[in-house]
């Protein structure tokens, strides 16, 4: 038997003078359950509010249609690129529903459905991916930060905003969305550490969809689960089935209220799967098998919820049809909005680099203006 294996001998006095070496928080409550929380198909499901389940269903149907329509728009060249959240709709919708009007959402490029579910118009939510501008909606009006492309860089922003709101005495929770790959970035670490130290009202939702483009989780992390990272920051880790809309909604809502109540930040890992390729530009057959995809098709969050609702007799054909109809309406709006050519003003490139354009930028804007005038004459 070695010293490492054996329990520490009875210490003569603790080696933990309280002053410098800080809090000795109990790790137990911070650790996630070994299995992702599952509600649909368990006794817990009976406790759920039927209307909430129907609401989740309607939003899932909308979300699925949104993903399909956006993908179609890429084929028609109306969107430059689209990272679909097909298969992750339960995560996207729960993210929007868990927040109050006054809370803030910090999405990544894959989270436009969450942005739309929060009330942003699709054409604005997709502006970055359409290519006419970097960003579409008014972040302060919707309390939704711009889509973050540099991975995990939005996480510290969420911490800072939540911290600032608390300093102002406002009741605001910030929810940051990160992918499994994003958890490897230094910014993810620094954000969670700041959140723990500042005890900021922030929730980190990691949508673990199994891949960072082509890189499977096994090459991304050796952790028991990504939720186990929480304890290293003194924050709570939660593990949930990301394809179980009811579980997602419960866990995320509670995580947000946990943060809101001042009990500290929460890291939620949602185990889910990206059913489409990374983006329309990606070829997923290079790195995963049809069998694997099929296995997850069988766990489609929409199908799982619809099955539950039907088996529990909580939904009828009329409601299903109504949801489908609403989805077609959304798709129609999207087609209409994206068919209109976006207005482009080349000179706007100089307008918002600074509050006031520098003398240098004014010179450069004048140069471009002259070129455009010449072009116009040439026509």
């Amino acid at each position: 038997m070695t010293l490492l294996d054996q329990p520490a001998g009875a210490p003569m006095g603790s080696v933990w003078p309280p002053d410098a070496h800080g809090p000795r928080r109990d790790p137990a409550p911070l650790l996630p359950d070994p299995e992702p929380l599952r509600v649909l198909g368990t006794q817990a499901a009976d406790k759920l509010d039927a209307e909430l389940l129907r609401e989740l269903y309607r939003r899932l149907v909308l979300g699925r249609r949104y993903n399909q329509q956006a993908t179609t728009l890429t084929k028609q060249g109306r969107l430059a690129v689209y990272p679909a959240s097909t298969g992750q709709e339960a995560c996207q919708i729960a993210a929007a529903m868990a927040l109050r009007e006054t809370d803030w959402l910090f999405p990544s490029y894959r989270d436009t459905l969450a942005v739309v579910s929060r009330g942003v118009r699709p054409v604005e939510a997709l502006t970055l991916l359409r290519g006419n501008a970097h960003h579409g909606w008014d972040p302060k009006a919707h309390r939704v930060a711009p889509l973050s492309t540099p991975l995990a860089t939005q996480a510290p922003h969420a911490v800072g905003l939540a911290h600032a709101a608390r300093l102002r005495g406002d009741d605001v929770v910030a929810l940051a969305l990160v992918g499994d790959g994003g958890t490897s970035e230094g910014d993810f670490h620094e954000a969670l550490n700041f959140a723990g130290v500042l005890n900021a009202p922030v929730v980190f939702l990691v949508q673990n969809n199994g891949y960072a483009i082509s890189v499977p989780l096994a090459k991304q992390s050796a952790a028991p689960t990504l939720a186990h990272k929480a304890v290293g920051y003194g924050i709570s880790g939660r593990l949930v089935d990301g394809n179980d809309a009811a579980a997602m909604h419960s866990v995320l809502t509670e995580a947000v209220e946990h943060a809101r109540s001042g009990r500290g930040p929460v890291l939620v890992e949602a185990v889910t799967y990206r059913l489409e390729a990374h983006t329309n530009a990606d070829d997923a057959t290079r790195y995963r098998t049809p069998e694997e995809v099929a296995a997850w098709q069988a766990r489609d969050p929409l199908a799982m919820l619809e099955t539950h609702l039907r088996e529990a007799g909580l939904i009828d054909d009329a409601e299903v049809a109504a949801a489908a109809e609403a989805a077609e309406e959304l798709a129609g709006e999207m087609r209409a909005e994206f068919h209109a050519e976006p207005e482009l003003d080349p000179l706007s490139l100089f307008t918002h680099v600074y509050a006031e354009p520098t003398p240098q930028l004014r010179e450069q804007a004048a140069l471009l203006a002259a070129e455009l005038a010449a072009e116009a004459d040439a026509r």
Binding site: P146, H157, G160
Partner: protein, 324 residues
């Protein structure tokens, strides 16, 4: 009117800003209890509380990223990076978010963040404690880049930086922290103007930050050689004051740019290039540069050979083709 060091003037500026605007928050490593390793934030936590002057965990990207979120909510964060080279971990947050957020959101999310960076050498620091990193920032659209060379500008420019609705990289010449001068907190004027510190007729020295005193000393020494030099203190690298600079160069027809940073791809190259573009036919000689060498910053016992000194500046002035 009283005398103060640059460090004290900066400290006063931070105190006044915290006092006048409740949205101003200072954050960084050791800025609270300790008052910063250079004591620039000395006493601020005591007066304004540990939240207004926050000791953060040790992570620069986290500090700047947190400041971005605070600014998104309407605060005015003033971030301290402990040393020039220790701002590099925050480079992605700075370039991809701080510099771009206003533009990306068409003005909807301005980030009024001041990023204080003690920079430059001459203090006998070990490696990574004496970098001149201004060129990285000056080449990044969306950032203002300013650097004071006098006690008065230490106060005035820092107040202006904090008052600015744009992100400002505020570069503090470490080796001038202890330089003393008369000073009264002056009214804040906007960023972007250079100032002529000395007017001469022979040639113009264009410089900023830690090299200003060296250039003024060189100008004094130049008298003995029969040269009467103009010395321009740029103060703001972005925006750049072409008007003041070009006027000063045209007046003498000869110019030397002086800075500590490595020459290749340094700010001096931009200055030489744009001055030449604008003043070509007024120039009797090419604009020359006296800069640090293109080497990693030297160890303390050798740094004097790297730093532009009076002799090296005068040697450059001597090359300005006086024979014509």
């Amino acid at each position: 009117m009283s005398t103060a060091t640059l460090a004290q003037a900066l400290n006063t500026a931070l105190g006044d800003a915290l006092r006048e605007d409740p949205d101003v928050h200072v954050l960084g490593e050791d800025v609270g209890t300790l008052g910063g390793v250079f004591r620039i934030t000395d006493g601020l936590a005591a007066e304004f509380g540990s939240q207004r002057c926050l000791d953060t965990p040790l992570a620069e990207a986290g500090i700047l990223g947190t400041a971005v979120g605070m600014a998104m909510y309407g605060l005015r964060p003033v971030v301290e990076m402990q040393f020039d080279a220790f701002a590099y971990p925050a480079f992605e947050q700075l370039v991809s978010h701080v510099a771009k957020m206003r533009n990306r959101t068409a003005g909807k999310l301005p980030l009024p963040i001041t990023i204080r960076v003690p920079y430059g050498g001459g203090i006998g620091g070990v490696e990574h404690h004496s970098d001149s990193s201004e060129a990285y920032y000056a080449h990044t659209p969306g950032l203002h880049v300013v650097t004071p060379a006098t006690v008065a500008d230490g106060y005035g420019l820092l107040r202006a930086a904090i008052a600015s609705d744009d992100p400002v990289v505020f570069l503090e010449p470490k080796r001038l922290y202890w330089s003393k001068d008369e000073f009264t907190p002056a009214p804040v004027e906007p960023i972007g103007r250079a100032v002529v510190r000395r007017t001469g007729s022979s040639a113009t020295l264009l410089t900023y930050g830690p090299s200003l005193p060296v250039c003024l000393e060189a100008a004094e020494a130049a008298k003995a050689e029969g040269w009467d030099l103009t010395v321009v203190d740029l103060r703001s690298l972005v925006p750049f004051d072409d008007e003041t600079v070009c006027a000063a160069v045209r007046a003498t027809g000869r110019a030397v740019v002086v800075h500590e940073a490595s020459g290749f791809g340094g700010v001096g190259a931009e200055i030489a290039a744009r001055v030449t573009e604008r003043c070509f036919h007024h120039l009797a000689a090419p604009v020359l540069r006296v800069t640090g060498f293109d080497i990693p910053y030297p160890p303390p016992m050798l740094e004097r050979h790297h730093l532009p000194g009076v002799d090296r500046i005068l040697d450059a002035v001597a090359l300005l083709q006086w024979e014509q």
